[in-house]
Every structure is written in structure tokens, then in C-alpha cells.
């Protein structure tokens, strides 16, 4: 029954939280009815491979869960680009990426204040680029999902069906991991463009970023790269939840260290060119530095809170792992065999 439980748990992860328990209970009952029916016909218990085949015939978790979604939103320009099954993940990735992009540009605009005159245009360009890239990736995924090519469909089935071996531990959603990869790859690709935009905006007022920021670029690239590696691991091994939480805590901690190091740098902008600045440029540089200082302090405080919650969650997971290792036999399917 482990295979059946894993299958139902994967479906559960993709269902709306409010209805999750009820739907899975009914699906479980239905699958057990199938199994009993077949066992009665064969006059022997089904093998694990036969149960696995039965779950496969029932449909991939994504397809099964997709049928229950009340959310029937799609993205369509003439034809459907992102259908109702992938749309919730598309919306999440888009919200994450556009949120970060808008926040980063708005912070730069707030720091530069009156010197940053083309905020709407900059925002529009950067948000459009992110929207375009994310939409193209999900449209391609949608085409794969509806593909008539057996190889494509088989690849999707393999991706969305739980692995053969695995325990009953909770899992990191594979689609969530794939969405994370898409979001971070797009952000990584966008990072140089954002750097250029910030440098360009500063250059207009005779300033340049101090060398301390170079380390930020490398650190951000490493952090997002680590996020991609962790998500790739969880696509293959969704049951490795510790990898997910440890990577997340380590990334948040690294982020806090980076922000603190930046705060310690003291100088965040320098005069452009010869290094000799006019009094007017110095005044602007002082204002910009003040804005950056305030932004960094706010970011550091938020990061410290996030790290605190990460560590608390990790400690809770560790306690749960020690306490629950002996009695972890709650099986969704078995629950219904009274």
C-alpha cells in the first residue's frame, strides 16, 4: 500500500487545502474498491507492480488533482497558452518574480528619489521581460502536457508520479520544485540587466556603485544557484524534505550575513570617473547613501526574523524526526480499512 499512499499524497499536495482531506479519502476508497474488485477476480492479492499500474491508469497526480480544481483560470491569446492544470503554478512563479523585480526597482527608485525619473518605463520594461520569459517556459510545459507524442507524455508521467522507493514522509512538491527552478533561472538571467539599470541610473547623477556591491552579485548568484540545485534534488528525491529546509535556512542566513557585511562597508556609492566630486554630487551621494543605509537596515531586520523562524522550524523538524521515527505508520489508504 506504500505506492498507493505515495500516489495519494502527491495528489493531496496539488489539491486546494480546504477540500484536500475529503477528496483524498474518497479517491482512496475508490482505488481500494478497484483493488478489491481485481483481487476478487484474480483470487489473489495484487502485487506492488499491479497496484502501481492501477494508479498509473487512474491518471498522473497532476491530471487527477487538476480535475478537482475550482480554479479554471487559463492564459489565452487566441489559443490557450497555459491551461487550468499549470495555471496556479504559473501564477505563483509570476507573482514571485514580478514581486521581486518590482520591489528591487522600487527600492532603487526610492533610494535615488528625484534623480530616478523614468520609474514607470523601467518597471514596464523589466516586468515585461520577466512576464515574457516565464510565460514562454510555461507555454512550452503546457504543450508538453498536451502533447500527442508518447515520449513527452511518458516523461511527464515519470516526473509527476511518485518514485518507486520511498517512505511515508511528507514530500516537497515536484511541481513546486520545478516552479522554483523556473523562477530562479529567470531571476538569475535578469540579475545582470538589473545591475546595468541600477548602474545606469547612478551614472546619470555622476555616481557609481562601490566595490562592496560586486560581492553581492556573486553571493546572489550563488544563493539562487543553490536554490536551483536544491529544487533539482527535490524533483528527483521529493522525500528529502530536510534538503529543502536546510538549504532554505542556509540561504536566508547567507542573505543576512551579506546584508550585514554590506552595512559594515560604510560606503555604497562613489563618485564616477576620477573620484573627485563636486559639492552637488557629494550632496546627492550623501542622500543616496542614506537611502541605501535605511534599506539595508530594514532588510537586515526582516532577514533576521526570517532566519529565526527557519531555525525554529528546523529544530521542530528535528524533534519530530526523533519522536516520530518509531510510529510513523499512518497510512492514508490503511486509514479506510476499518
Amino acid at each position: 500500500m506504500h505506492r498507493l499512499d505515495a500516489y495519494l499524497k502527491t495528489i493531496a499536495q496539488l489539491l486546494p487545502a480546504a477540500e484536500r482531506h475529503d477528496i483524498v479519502k474518497e479517491l482512496s476508497e475508490n482505488l481500494l474498491s478497484h483493488i478489491e474488485d481485481r483481487e476478487a477476480r484474480l483470487r489473489r492479492p495484487l502485487t506492488d507492480a499491479e497496484i502501481e499500474a492501477l494508479a498509473r491508469d487512474f491518471g498522473s497526480p497532476l491530471e487527477v488533482a487538476g480535475r478537482y480544481r475550482q480554479d479554471t483560470r487559463v492564459l489565452a491569446f487566441g489559443r490557450i497558452l497555459v491551461g487550468p492544470v499549470l495555471f496556479p503554478f504559473y501564477a505563483k512563479v509570476l507573482a514571485f518574480n514580478l514581486g521581486i523585480t518590482a520591489a528591487a526597482i522600487t527600492i532603487v527608485a526610492a533610494v535615488l528619489r528625484t534623480q530616478f525619473t523614468n520609474l514607470p518605463q523601467t518597471l514596464l520594461v523589466h516586468l515585461s521581460i520577466q512576464f515574457g520569459i516565464v510565460t514562454v517556459i510555461f507555454s512550452l510545459a503546457e504543450r508538453g502536457l498536451g502533447s500527442r507524442h508518447e515520449s513527452f507524455r511518458a516523461a511527464y508521467q515519470a516526473l509527476l508520479t511518485p518514485p518507486s522507493r520511498g517512505s511515508d514522509h511528507s514530500r516537497v512538491s515536484r511541481l513546486g520544485s520545478l516552479s522554483q527552478i523556473v523562477a530562479l533561472v529567470v531571476l538569475l538571467a535578469w540579475l545582470p540587466a538589473f545591475g546595468n539599470a541600477a548602474r545606469g541610473a547612478l551614472a546619470e547623477i555622476g555616481l557609481a556603485l562601490a566595490p562592496a556591491w560586486h560581492a553581492v552579485y556573486v553571493t546572489l548568484a550563488c544563493l539562487w544557484g543553490a536554490g536551483i540545485v536544491q529544487a533539482a534534488i527535490n524533483v528527483v528525491r521529493p522525500q528529502w524534505t530536510r534538503v529543502y529546509w536546510v538549504t532554505r535556512a542556509a540561504s536566508d542566513l547567507a542573505w543576512l550575513v551579506m546584508v550585514t557585511a554590506l552595512l559594515g562597508a560604510g560606503a555604497w556609492v562613489v563618485p564616477l570617473g576620477t573620484g573627485v566630486s563636486s559639492p552637488a554630487v557629494s550632496r546627492v551621494a550623501h542622500g543616496v547613501s542614506h537611502g541605501i543605509f535605511v534599506s539595508l537596515v530594514v532588510t537586515a531586520v526582516i532577514s533576521a526574523i526570517v532566519v529565526f523562524f527557519d531555525l525554529r522550524r528546523l529544530a521542530g523538524l528535528e524533534r519530530g524526526r526523533r519522536g516520530g521515527s518509531s510510529g510513523r505508520a499512518s497510512s492514508t489508504a490503511e486509514e479506510h480499512r476499518t
Binding site: 477540500e19 477528496i23 479519502k25 474518497e26 479517491l27 476508497e29 475508490n30 481500494l32 474498491s33 478497484h34 474488485d37 487512474f58 491518471g59 491530471e63 487527477v64 480535475r67 478537482y68 479506510h336 480499512r337 476499518t338
Partner: protein, 117 residues
């Protein structure tokens, strides 16, 4: 003939009738698995991934009521038609008969296709 086009039209034609069939079958109480078998026995096979979400939708619309009950040592969800469902079903069946009568007349009156050979 384009088989894909035919399949799409066939599914479109079936979509509404599946709802009527489910409502009609649930004048008698059934749980999901048995309902599907009963419908299949009557020649109305429905994919499970269509049936179960449909049952939930019809219940949320007040046309069905359900109850979890133990049978054969397992908890099963039994569905049956609600009072509102009975009224709606009666009207849908009436409409269905009108459509069938009209279609039969139209099909009978239509000039037959020229025979080849």
C-alpha cells in the same frame, strides 16, 4: 473524416447527457465506484476523473446529498438525489425527451445522402 474532430463533437454531445445520467441513476443511493459500474452497465461509461469531480460539483450545487457510511468494513461516501435535484432532473428529462423527439423528426425528414455505386 477527421477522427479528432469527430471525437471532440462526440464528447461535446455526451457532456450534458452525462449529468442527466448521473442525476437519474442517483434516484437510488450509490457510492462512487458502484455508481460508475451501474452507469457502465447501462452503456454510459464515465471516466473516474470526470465522475468524482462532477459528483462534488453537483453536491455543491445542491442537486445531490452525500453521507459517509461504513459498508463492508470500509467507509464509503454514498450519494443520492436531493429534493432540488429531483425537481431539476424531472425538468431536464422533459427537455431531453423534447430534444430527442425533435432530433428524430429532423433526422427522419432530412434528405438522405446520395448513394454511391
Amino acid at each position: 473524416m477527421n477522427p479528432e474532430l469527430y471525437e471532440n463533437l462526440r464528447l461535446e454531445l455526451r457532456r450534458g447527457s452525462v449529468i442527466v445520467a448521473v442525476l437519474a441513476q442517483l434516484r437510488q443511493e450509490h457510492y462512487g465506484y458502484m455508481l460508475r459500474k451501474a452507469l457502465a452497465d447501462e452503456g454510459m461509461a464515465i471516466d473516474e476523473n470526470t465522475l468524482y469531480p462532477l459528483l462534488r460539483r453537483l453536491e455543491s450545487q445542491g442537486l445531490l446529498v452525500s453521507q459517509w457510511r461504513e459498508e463492508d468494513k470500509r467507509n464509503k461516501r454514498f450519494y443520492r438525489l436531493s429534493a432540488d435535484g429531483e425537481q431539476i432532473l424531472a425538468r431536464l428529462l422533459e427537455e431531453w425527451r423534447n430534444i430527442t423527439d425533435s432530433l428524430t423528426r429532423i433526422a427522419d425528414d432530412a434528405p438522405s445522402a446520395p448513394r454511391r455505386g
